[in-house]
């Protein structure tokens, strides 16, 4: 199962575009990428979930861990997501109150 992880810098933020399915098999790669970015001093990260077909609680856990890591550096991790099936997972778990979720990358970068 492929997990695409593409990084680009945009107006002072690091945008991590995720593609594919995020589950117990692929989530460790997402975690490694977030850890790597933080270790490079990237403390403002936007995770773009628009290319994600599936996300379960393992993926949520990685994002929660990433947010915690960034907050410890006075940074932030925000999300881009408009897909109802993915948003639903955040809504059920109440994590819409933990993450800032934007409709576009531009909004997230500006936020």
């Amino acid at each position: 199962m492929e997990l695409g992880l593409d990084v680009e810098e945009k107006n002072g933020a690091t945008v991590l575009a995720v593609r594919g399915e995020v589950d117990v098999y692929t989530a460790p790669r997402l975690r490694e990428k977030l850890v790597e970015l933080v270790s490079q001093g990237k403390y403002k990260i936007v995770v773009n979930l628009e290319g994600v077909d599936f996300l379960d609680s393992t993926g949520l856990g990685v994002l929660v861990g990433g947010l915690k890591r960034l907050r410890s550096h006075d940074g932030d991790l925000t999300l881009v997501c408009t897909q109802p099936r993915i948003l639903k997972v955040f809504e059920i778990t109440g994590l819409t109150k933990v993450f800032a979720i934007h409709d576009t990358v531009d909004d997230a970068v500006a936020g």
């Binding site: 199962m1 399915e21 589950d23 117990v24 098999y25 599936f54 379960d56 609680s57 393992t58 949520l60 856990g61 990685v62 929660v64 861990g65 947010l67 915690k68 907050r71 099936r85 639903k88 997972v89 059920i92 778990t93 109440g94 994590l95 109150k97 933990v98």
Partner: protein
């Protein structure tokens, strides 16, 4: 007898996607299960299989996880059976409220609440032989009827014209 489909997967992370695919494909064949509900079931299966596979990490990783789907007229039942030490979901620690900064210390433990929300019925049956998670999705007979009417609309009537 209602049709039953069984899939045995190695207790390894790379096979969770296969279990999701099989169950969602089977559920897609049920016209009375709308797409949104199939997505719910797919996520619940992923959570249950993840727990099942993690239950084996303390023991023999060559053990297998059994995914069993039983179709009845009004429901689809999916059970996930592992051979771990037995897991009681009632012993899960409660998460702090999401607005509490301490919430960020909890990366795990969301799978069981998700399953409980996503499926119509769920039971957890832990024993010393492992844990069985049985999930039920009820079908909506009204949807079955809608599809049947569509089907009737597409019957070829050219033969009747000739008569």
């Amino acid at each position: 007898m209602d049709p039953v489909i069984e899939l045995e997967i190695p207790a390894r992370a790379e096979y969770v996607g296969l279990a999701r695919l099989v169950v969602s494909s089977l559920a897609s064949g049920r016209r009375a299960l709308p797409e949104e509900r199939i997505d719910d079931l797919k996520l619940a299966v992923s959570e249950a299989c993840t727990n099942a596979i993690e239950a084996h990490h303390e023991g023999d990783v060559e053990e297998r996880v059994l995914v069993r789907c039983a179709e009845a007229e009004d429901r689809l039942e999916v059970s996930i059976q592992d051979r771990g030490k037995g897991f009681d979901p009632e012993t899960l620690p409660e998460h702090p409220p999401v607005t509490d900064p301490e919430r960020l210390n909890f990366e795990r433990g969301l799978g069981i609440p998700l399953i409980r929300t996503l499926v119509d019925e769920v039971t957890f049956e832990p024993s010393s032989q492992g844990t069985a998670v049985r999930m039920v999705m009820y079908c909506d007979p009204a949807l079955e009827l809608d599809v049947d009417i569509d089907h009737i609309d597409h019957i070829d009537l050219t033969g009747l014209d000739e008569a």
